[in-house]
Structure formats: structure tokens, C-alpha cells
Amino acid sequence: MITSQTVLSVHNLQVSAGSNPLVKGISFEIKQGEIFALVGESGSGKSLTSLSIMRLLPEVLKITAGEVVFGQQKIFELTETQMNSVRGKKIAMIFQEPQTSLNPVQTVGVQLQEVLKLHQNINATDLQTKLISLLEEVGIPEPEARLKWYPHQLSGGQKQRIMIAMALACEPELLVADEPTTALDVTIQRQILDLLNDLRKTRNLSVLLITHDMGVVAEMADTVAVMQRGEILEQADCNTFFANPQHEYSKRLINSLPKADDFIGVNDNESLLEVNDLKVWFAKKKGILQRTVGHTKAVDGVSFKVNKGETLAIVGESGSGKTTMGKAILRLNPVHAGSIKFKGKELSGLSHSQFLPHRRDIQVIFQDPFSSMNPRMSVREIIEEGMVSLKVEANAKKREEIMCALLTRVGLEPEHLDRYPHEFSGGQRQRIAIARALAVKPELIICDEPTSALDVSIRGQVLELLNELQQETGVSLLFITHDLSIVPHLAHRVAVMKDGVIVEQGTTEQVMTAPAHEYTQALLKAVPALYTS
């Protein structure tokens, strides 16, 4: 299947911002019909590489050396007009965020047509059939009707399919896919990856796949190149790479993938949190008098239990109501019905002030480390806030001692107290968020996707930290995640949520190895796994 013909070759490509080199002379070749994976963490320069190939770099960045040869053409020697005919026609690109890549005020059909008209001479009758066949190819049902739809009417996965259709419209030889599935749910990711794989086979298309997810790489790629800080550390055939990684960093990346068969034993501690038939409904209101005409049932009757010192993972795709449920336990969302018992005490009926003493016991860590801290407060103020308002420690000097100890514990320096959040990286911020939650000595921490915004190797460290803290302090964790792959070595028990209800729950081992519900099975199958045993 793979011919030896080279489609794209990059020689000693260098990109810098001013005097600061960002891509430091990388070289690679992509052969026809091959999926070439460029792997690296955020900031490693992989997206810059793809943008330089397309000559779409922002103005502040300059290509300082190297050349890119596409077929017979040297890309950097083309004029801008010549380049325009290469872009889209010969090399096409799909982006990470399908939500923002489509124009919201034009129908899908119009946007697809635009690409075709621009690059191909095609008459009106052929155009329609071509559009329909394109949509069929990328697996959009009822293509004729969908052409008249606006982007907001489509789901995220469908939008990404449309993006792929647009990219394929002019039959390019090379497809640059910049993190095409990062913004999508696992099951959708699976479909898109399958689609890319099929297209590669049917069209003999070369794909430059940029990703940070080693699972995706293991499954898709023919050749792998690992990038770090603007350099390619290692480049190898996919099988050889995973069997025998050469570079230290590559080993770390591969090892950061949690093993799927490493489960934690379940303990039989007394229960800490008991949730029974919890319903979080949001009223739909209409008319001048704001009459309630119905409810959006975000969480519709879930029951579960978290034991002391135990981690319960709530797994589900976006929109399944898992975050809403977490916020309802924290009383950040109103509870419609059901009971929440904490250490045997009913919490759901309490008023705002009655609930206040319990705020100390239940804390939260959010998903986005950038929005979870007030950018105008120093780390000291951020951590101190809860301790002051919940009256954990009245003495300012003792508070300072506690804060210093906490920062050291989560792997930061006491000097960091007087810095501001923007001076920290995502992983460090998440550590601050953990310190903030721990400062009030809670018994339960609700972790709302705390690692999904982090790079793989950092993700491993943060999860490790949470594990250690649980062993030291005996804190219970309610871990909300969409990522099944991190569950095994993290959680004692798992509950799978879909459309506001829990479809299956049990010990991690039981759910992961012998899933009973078909949705769980689908989820497990969709996870791109390294070790597909």
C-alpha cells in the first residue's frame, strides 16, 4: 500500500520569534499514503511546523532557514498567488476546533461550494452531485438536506466531518490534521479517526497528523516523530517506536499512558457521601410572567456513594450532566429533588447559611487552570481566601505557615506565595488549585476534570499527586472525567453517566474488564489504547 514516493520533505526548518528560536532545524519526509504523526506537548513547536508548511505563520514569526519541498515545488520560493493554489488544492488543513473553523452565518453547502469554485472549474449541476458525494464520503447522513444547514445545527463531530469534507473537496495530496480530535468526545473521536483511516486507504492520501495523544498515535500512525522544544528527538516507524523507544522523553511520553490493567483494590470504609435519586432540573421559562413551562433535566435521578478515603470516578461524555451534578453537591447549582447525605447528615434541604459549615468539608478543583484563579489576586490571597472565610485559622502567622507547607507539599516553593497566577504554567496552576482546596482540610474533593486541560506528562504528575495526597490525608475524591484511560490506576469505583443518569456503576476492575451496559462497552472500545489486548 505504501509507495516509496515522497510527497513532502522538510529540511532543516527553523522558525523564530525575533531572536528566540521556536523550531530549531527539523527535517522529515512524508511518503504517499502514509500517516505521519508529529507528537509533542503544548509549546513544542508542532503546530508552528504545520503552519510553516502552509505558509500561514503569524507575522511576528519568521522562517529563518530550511526548505519545504512539496512534490517538485519548493514551497518557500513560491509567490503568494502560487501558494494560494497550493493551499487547499494540494495541501489541505483541518483544525482542532470545528466550532470556530466554520462561518456561523453561512450554510454548510455555501462554504463547501466556495472551496470547490475557488480551485476547480466545475459547472452548477456537477457541483451539487459533487457536494453530496463529498458529504456521503465523510459519513454525513441525509447529505442533500444537510447542505442547507447552518453550522450551529450540527454536532461537534459532524462539524469536524464537514471540515474534513472541505479539506478533501479539491482532492489534495496531503492533509494536515492539527489535533483533529482533541475537542471531541471519545466515541466521536473514534469515528473521526476511523474516517481518516478509511480516506487514507481509499484516496491514497498522505496525512500529517499532529497530536499530543499517544493512544491516537499508536493506533493511526505509520511513522512517528517526537518533538520537544522545537526539535525532533526521535523519528521511527510506529511499531519500532513503541516497541523500542530510543529517547528518554519518548519513553516518558509512552509511560505517561496509564496502564489499562493496573487496578487499585477496593476498601470497605464507612461511607462519607451518599447521593440518592438526585435530580437537577432547570426550569424553562416563557412569557412576560416567566411561567415555568417545563424542565431541562440535566441530572435525572442519580444515586451513588463515596466511601472515606476512596475515589469514585464519574465517567461520561460532554453533556452527560456530570459537571452539573458535581456543582449540585457543592450547592453551586440548585437541587430539584433527591437527597445528598454527608456523614449521615442531610445537606439538600439546608439554607445558604446552614450549609456554610459544610463548605469546609467539601471542596472542588476545576477543569480549566486558567479560569479557576482570579488573575488579579496573588497566590497568597487565593489560598488564604477560603481559610479566612471558613475560619480555618484566625492567626495570620499560622496561616502563612500552613500555606508554605501546602505549597511545598504540592511541589511548589513557598516564595511563590506572592506571585500572580499568570506567572505559572497550567500544571503549576492546577497544583495551586489543589493547595487551595486542601487549605481548608476538606474530607471530600470534587475534581471536575482536573487534568483534561493539561499535557500528558503533566497529567500523570498531577494524578500522582492526588493519589499521594489521598493516601496521606485520607481525603475522598469524586473524580469527574471523560477520559476512561486514566480511571484504572486512579479510582476505586466507577460510575458511568449518560444523559443525566448513571447507566452502570461498580468497582473499577469490574466495569473496565466486564462492562455490562452497552454504552460502557462502546466507550471502552472507543478509547485509543496502546495495548490493545
Binding site: L332, V364, N374, Y420
Partner: protein, 466 residues
Amino acid sequence: MILPVFLWSDLLIYTLIASVGLFLWQLRKNPQAKKRWSGVFASKVGMASFIVILFYILISLLDSLHYREPLPQLNGVEQQEVAYSSEVKSVLDIVLSPLHSSNESTYSAPFALHSFAKENMTDTNGAIYRDFPRLKNAGSHLTDVRERSWDILWRSVLAILLGILIAAVPIAAHKYYRNKIAQGTADHSGSDAVPWNVAYSTVLIISVIGCWVLSLSEFYHILGTDKVGSDVLYQSIKAIRTGVLIGTLATLVTLPLAIILGISAGYFKGWVDDVVQYTYTTLSSIPGILLIAASVLLIDVYIETHAEQFNLTTLRSDFKFLALCAILGLTSWTGLCRMLRAETLKVSQLDYVQAAHAFGVSHRRVIGKHILPNVTHLILIAIVLDFSMFVLAEAVLSYIGVGVDPDMHSWGNMINAARSELSRDPVVWWSVSAAFILMFTLVLAANLFSDEVRNAFDPNTAKGDS
């Protein structure tokens, strides 16, 4: 002894200056805000426009120290009580005394020696003829009319030299001080960021223009005279106080309304939001001019019926002026309120606000610590933009006759008078031009400054962090 007069607007403006000083003092503790503000002053435009604004404010502050002079004692009569003149003067009048006292009888062009209108005159032989009479004050030191150009040139050169000299002293002192600081500390990266040279040249230009204007206006009406022969330059300088004050005071009225209502609407949502929204929708659907005109009429009636409270014309016009500020403020808070509500809606959904709720932080603290600091950029930008808007609004309102008291010097009143002046032939252009130039400089400086403030504070354009 003179009798100090404290007008309400004087007290307000000095309180305001004091609170701005206090705010700056507080700012020293906050490294982030300090960095942002130094970003504003690191830009050349920001620095220059700030100094121009400062100059205007300085003039209006000088003009806000009012007093009454005692009347000269009648000869031979021993009086128990000193009687004071009913004319309220300000410190600025001392500086501008040559302008204020040198009135002509009617219009005269800038630098003119003769009146603008012909008059009947009697020559030495007793025959009556019509010609342009010599002005009483302007150029009265000249023996020959032909000397005028040389006289102006000579005096200009002297004035400019003096202006340079006056500016050179503080600039040299400041430079010396900076060098001393730079020697003391090894790292002088911080002071290098400020474009002091721009500051120096702005100060120099202002000083030269100021000296030139002051020294020449002693001998000529450099911007001419108006219908009743009073100096236009004097009027337009006195109008600076009106412009600056209406800008700051009216903005001050809008702020608490917009901030409190906007943030509580966005934060508490529900019925609070409904009430606030209905209020500002109603208010903004009534034409602002209508409300202002109606209120000004009401105030006129109040002044008429309570004449005993306003025994001085200055008191009356000051009261009317303050009322105008209040009305302008009360009718223009809706824009900022709407923006703050939207931004608060957005900010209050962010995770850090949710985290604060999870820590049981009280609403007051959440608003004070989390919401307000993160919407400050909107408030700051609105302050500077509103300022120039109100300066212009005053001109428009005075033009249609519902603005400040006709006794009060204001650019609006000057422009209003220009309605008839511009229809004369030849045109009397200097009055409206003077008002225009001074107002234009202030509004331009304020707008440029607001641009810089926006660049530094708006999270979308701010360099570096969010």
C-alpha cells in the same frame, strides 16, 4: 482682608483630587495595576496627552479657589464692617488680571488696534466723521500704529525665551534627580521605560505658549474681543474650569449608579436584573435632551422662588451648574451599566467565582474581590471616554439654551453667541475659534489618553497576561 468663597463645585473638585491622590497611594501596593498604569505612561501619546490634561486640570483648580475682595473704604467714614465686592474672583483672575481689566467697547479682531465697527467721532476741528476708533487698551503703549508688527515680534521673542527658561528649570531639576536615582540603584530598567523626553517637550511647548499668551495679552487682545468688548482669551480660559468640571463631576455621578446597578444586575440576576433592566431601558428610551431641558427649567423655577439663597450671581450659576452635572450624569449611566452587567454575567460564571462560592465567601466579598477588579478596565475606559463626551455635551446644551448659566463662562455659551457673530459680514470668527481650539485640545487629549488606557487595561488588547 479678602473673604474666601467656597462654592459647592470647588469643594467637590478638591475632594475629588484628594481621592484620586488616595487612589494613587493605594495603587502603589498593587504591582499589577502599577504595571498597567506604567504601560499607559510608557507610551509617548499617553504621556503627552496626560500632561496636556494635567495642565487643563491645573488651570481649573486655580480657577476653583474663589474669594471676594473688600470694597475700598469710603473716605473719612470709619466703618464697623468691611463691605465685600459682589464680584467673586478666583486665583486665576490674579494671573489673568491684565485681560480681565482691559475691556473695549465692542468687537475687535485679534491683535487689532482699531475697533471692528465704525463709530461717529469728532476730529480736532469739531467735524463729525465715521471711522474705526482706536482701541482703549490694545496697543495703547504704541506711539505709532506702524510699529505694531515689530512690537509683536520683539515681545514674542522675549516671551518665548522666557517660556523656555521657565520650563528649563523644573526639567533640569528633574533630570538631575533622575540621574541621582539612577546612580543610586544599579538597575535603571524601570525609569528607562518612561518617555521623559516627550514629557519634557510637552512641558516646554505648554510653557512657551503660556508665556507668549500671557505676555502679549497684556498689550493686545490676542483672540480679540466680543460684543461687549471683553477679552475672548479671558473668557475661553475661564471656560476651562466649566469644561473640566462638567466632565469630571458628571462622570462621577454616573459611576456609582452604573457600577452598583450594573454589577448587582449581572451578579444576582433574577428580579434584581429585571428591575435594573427595565429601569435603564425606560430611561434610555426617553430622549436625553428632553429630560435635561425639563430639569433645567425646574431648577430655574427653584432659583426664582428661593432667590434669598442665591444672593450672588456666582452662587446661582454654580447651583445651576451642579444641577446640570447631576442631570447629565443621571441620564447617561445606562451605557456603562449595560456593559458592566454583561461583563459581570460573564465573570460570575468563571470558575474562580464558583470556587469562591464553594469556600462560602460572602456576596459582598465576592463582588469586591473577584468581580469588581475584573471589570475595572471597563470602568476606567468609560471614565475617560465619558469625560470628553460630557465636555462636548455641555457645548451642545448651552448652544440650544439649556446648558450652564449665561453668566458662567463656558465654551458652549461662546459657541451660542457665535450664532449671530458668524452671520455678520465680515465674519466675527475669533470667538468660536477660540472656544473650538481649547475644547478640541482637551477632548483630543482625553480621547488619546483613553485609547492608551484601553490598550493597557482591556484584557483583549493588553500585552502579556490576560
